[in-house]
């Protein structure tokens, strides 16, 4: 294998696939990045067997071949390389990196040991506009559980039924739901749980100039192709619970409030709430068209007051501030509607005049 390419190209490839490199693998070759030189394309590939990322860049290839470089070391070396044309030359299992008059030799892994990423050849296929997919990921994936003890809640449910696409994420304390219309996909049916980690990596890797994302799926795997990147992920096994029955159909109190004002108030209150045994819990007191957030802790106290529009009964309700901040940060709207049914039932947050998004949040039984 003999390659000539710029430092930038190497850096792009390494940075892209590095997210999939295993950091605690029992299989040493998975701590590496597969480099494959073929025709005029240099392909970077990494996988931890849950996610696989492949990235293709153009390079001047004088001799085809492949090798597996140790990911961590190689990426640090690449970062420190001078901004010039770099030559990569494979000699048995040693990669020689040349630049100016210097060279580095690096012992590589055997590419034969590197697992092939499945191609999903017989998979079904559809396309989503990048902006839509990004937005749906941003509005749902944050609500997923992070603990691996409850695998089904570490994934986002993706459901496609003809023209309708839905994404739902929940950690059982809150639930984020987003629905949208997609054109020209009459016969398409899909229901699968995508690891939220996969989605957040896609979110980070997609660039706005990648107009469309091509998605292939089988029963156990899903792949996303955009720009020069191909990402494949397993789907999570298991049945996602019926989320419809957890969404209350009526409410006792309805308030209309500005997202920015509420976010600022809640963030300030959370600062005071932080140093408290009831960590990060804030109470909303709603009455007489005023929303009050009062918090007293050892480090100080805060009184926030917001003018709101309201319908229905006065109410008092406590939430984990973080869960409230999370949703206020991703709502693309100036005003929201919040619906409550007493202090113990979940509150609903929706963008005003937009029925495509819903966030359900359980109150905290607080002091």
């Amino acid at each position: 294998m003999k390659i000539l390419c710029s430092k930038d190209i190497l850096q792009t490839g390494v940075n892209t696939v590095q997210r999939a490199v295993s950091n605690k693998s029992t299989l040493p070759v998975l701590q590496g990045i597969l480099l494959k030189a073929e025709k005029q394309t240099l392909t970077f590939c990494a996988t931890d067997l849950e996610i696989g990322i492949r990235c293709e860049v153009a390079a001047e290839i004088t001799e085809e071949g492949s090798t597996v470089v140790p990911a961590k070391l190689f990426s640090e070396i690449v970062r420190k390389l001078p901004d010039t044309i770099i030559s990569l030359d494979l000699n048995d299992d040693v990669l020689i990196i040349k630049y100016f008059q210097a060279e580095i030799s690096l012992k590589n892994y055997d590419p034969q040991e590197f697992p092939l990423l499945p191609d999903l050849d017989d998979a079904r296929f559809f396309t989503l506009p990048t902006a839509l997919l990004k937005n749906m990921i941003r509005q749902t994936a944050f609500a997923c559980a992070t603990e691996e003890t409850r695998p089904i809640f570490t994934g986002v449910l993706l459901n496609i039924d003809g023209h309708t696409i839905k994404m739902v994420g929940t950690d059982t304390h809150r639930l984020a739901y987003r629905i949208a219309e997609i054109p020209n996909q009459d016969e398409l049916q899909f229901n699968g749980l995508i690891p939220s980690k996969t989605l957040s990596e896609i979110y980070k890797l997609i660039r706005d100039e990648d107009e469309f994302v091509n998605i292939n799926f089988s029963d156990s795997q899903i792949s996303f192709q955009f720009g020069s990147i191909n990402m494949i992920s397993r789907l999570i096994d298991g049945q996602f619970p019926n989320y419809n029955q957890v969404i209350p159909k009526s409410c006792d109190t309805k308030i209309y409030v500005s997202v920015d004002s509420l976010l600022d108030s809640v963030e300030r209150a959370a600062l005071i709430a932080r140093d408290n045994s009831y960590a990060n819990i804030i109470r909303l007191a709603i009455s007489n068209r005023i929303l009050k957030i009062n918090k007293v802790t050892e480090i100080g106290k805060i009184n926030e007051k917001l003018d709101i529009k309201m319908e229905g009964k006065d109410t008092l309700i406590s939430f984990n501030a973080k869960f409230l901040i999370d949703v206020l940060k991703i709502i693309d709207c100036e005003d929201i509607v919040m619906e409550f049914s007493g202090s113990f039932s979940p509150g609903i947050i929706r963008p005003l005049n937009d029925s495509n998004y819903l966030y359900l949040l359980l109150p905290v039984r607080a002091t």
Partner: protein, 103 residues
Amino acid sequence: MRQLTQAFLEVEEKLISLLEEVRSLMPYVQSLEDENLRLKRESCALPEKETERVIANAARIEGVAHDNLVRLYKDGFHVCHLYFGQPMEAGACLFCAGFLRRE
């Protein structure tokens, strides 16, 4: 002729005693009929009353069960089918809340 009169008198006597016997049986028949009617009514009425009792009891048990589930949930255990009986880490679960509200 006297013989014939004698015969008629004997028949009359028999009829009178038969009539008396019938009359004496009437109250029994009456009471048996009453009894029968009462039993019939009872046998119809019983299931309805019993059903009401069963429903009331079931509702009571359901109420108790629901209260128990609410208590279990408030004590920090899942009552949803996903994690029934397991302790809740953060003290609340949307699926439990949905389940308890639906009841």
